[in-house]
Symmetry: C2
């Protein structure tokens, strides 16, 4: 662990914005939620903040994000990406802290395994309270990035189980973008993008014309988001 | 300035990958160049590295990038954006350093004002020598980001004077992407994107049908690249 700050040095924290889809408490429609952790010390004691902690000297950045996320919320994720580094001089009232922020997308089963302890709570992402530090600004930025990126990059599958129907994939887009999408157009666009492949199986049990299952094709994306 | 590292603490540096277009020394075609700074102390004494330096405790991140860039190379830029933070545990041989890396695009007149001192030299970006630390990897990542981003975001104008012809804009794309583009297609796509507006004037002097001048329309882009 880093020792206490004693001088003008800059200390480094790693935090993570985790998104999962759950029904909205009023509308019942799937919407974005995120877990926040209640601060148990100053500054901002008692306020909600993003899960995170100081970068340990023997940890890589993504490992730090994963470790503090699991330690504080019990969450693990397959989709973790660096979002941005926030370093304004006055973003922390006492010392100078630069936060390297990651964002994660989690599936329902991953979210269900998360701890819901007294100091961890899930919030509707667009309705978070006033947070510690500049964390409201970070959440807003992460939401903007997610909503931009889902329009040009195949990331929606990260909210779903490995096998999904095209209707489920569309519902993820609709929940993230907060608007209905035309099913036929969506289907055509997804199939034309070659980012999903049919598993050759169908949803079992429910219907005499069961919908086909697909999985994400990792080989389809050449976007270089990380080094 | 940060004081000397004495313990297990993590220190923070800010570096910048600066791209400008100049003719390639062999082919004569415009190509990407970047300035490097020769290290005058260990580790990697004598090796070339990206311009940068430790984050000062009273400086914002982008201000640090601008200040070290100007101090080491004399360069100023209108296009400066955060690229990525590199923080592998073993990326520096002695201490633990996390580098927050910015990238900048500069115009010919900005590049011409740069210092070409004994410890600063410009290199063809795809032909840099073995650099200090993980800076080869950072340059490669920045090149990939630039080449990806120029295909979906109006950034090419940052290499040009405020008023430019569509042929000049196409030549920037060709130089960055290292391939010829069809002039009629390019013209159609750029005009359809509504990212440039005609200034109402033409190039003067040279031709009886002088090409029209355009400028970038900042209001056209809604891409949220920074908070």
């Amino acid at each position: 662990m880093q020792s206490t700050q004693i001088d003008q040095r800059v200390s480094l924290a790693v935090s993570t914005v985790v998104f999962a889809l759950r029904p909205h408490p009023r509308t019942g429609h799937d919407t974005l939620w995120l877990p926040l952790v209640r601060r148990i010390r100053e500054p901002y004691e008692g306020a909600w903040a993003l899960p995170g902690g100081p970068l340990e000297s023997d940890e890589d950045l993504a490992a730090s994000a994963r470790n503090t996320l699991e330690r504080t919320t019990g969450l693990t994720t397959n989709y973790l990406e660096q979002l941005y580094s926030f370093g304004e001089v006055d973003r922390s009232p006492a010392d100078r802290v630069v936060s390297i922020v990651y964002w994660a997308l989690v599936r329902p089963d991953e979210a269900a395994r998360a701890v819901d302890g007294e100091n961890v709570e899930w919030f509707v992402a667009d309705e978070v309270p006033e947070l510690a530090f500049d964390h409201n600004r970070i959440v807003e930025y992460a939401l903007g990035r997610l909503r931009a990126k889902i329009t040009y990059s195949p990331i929606a599958h990260a909210f779903l189980n490995p096998e999904f129907t095209l209707a489920e994939l569309r519902e993820v887009h609709e929940a993230v973008l907060r608007k209905p999408l035309d099913p036929a157009n969506f289907r055509r666009q997804v199939l034309a993008s070659n980012t999903v492949v049919p598993t050759g199986t169908c949803v079992t049990g429910t219907s005499h014309r069961p919908p086909a299952l697909y999985r994400f094709d990792p080989a389809s994306t050449t976007t270089r988001e990380r080094p």
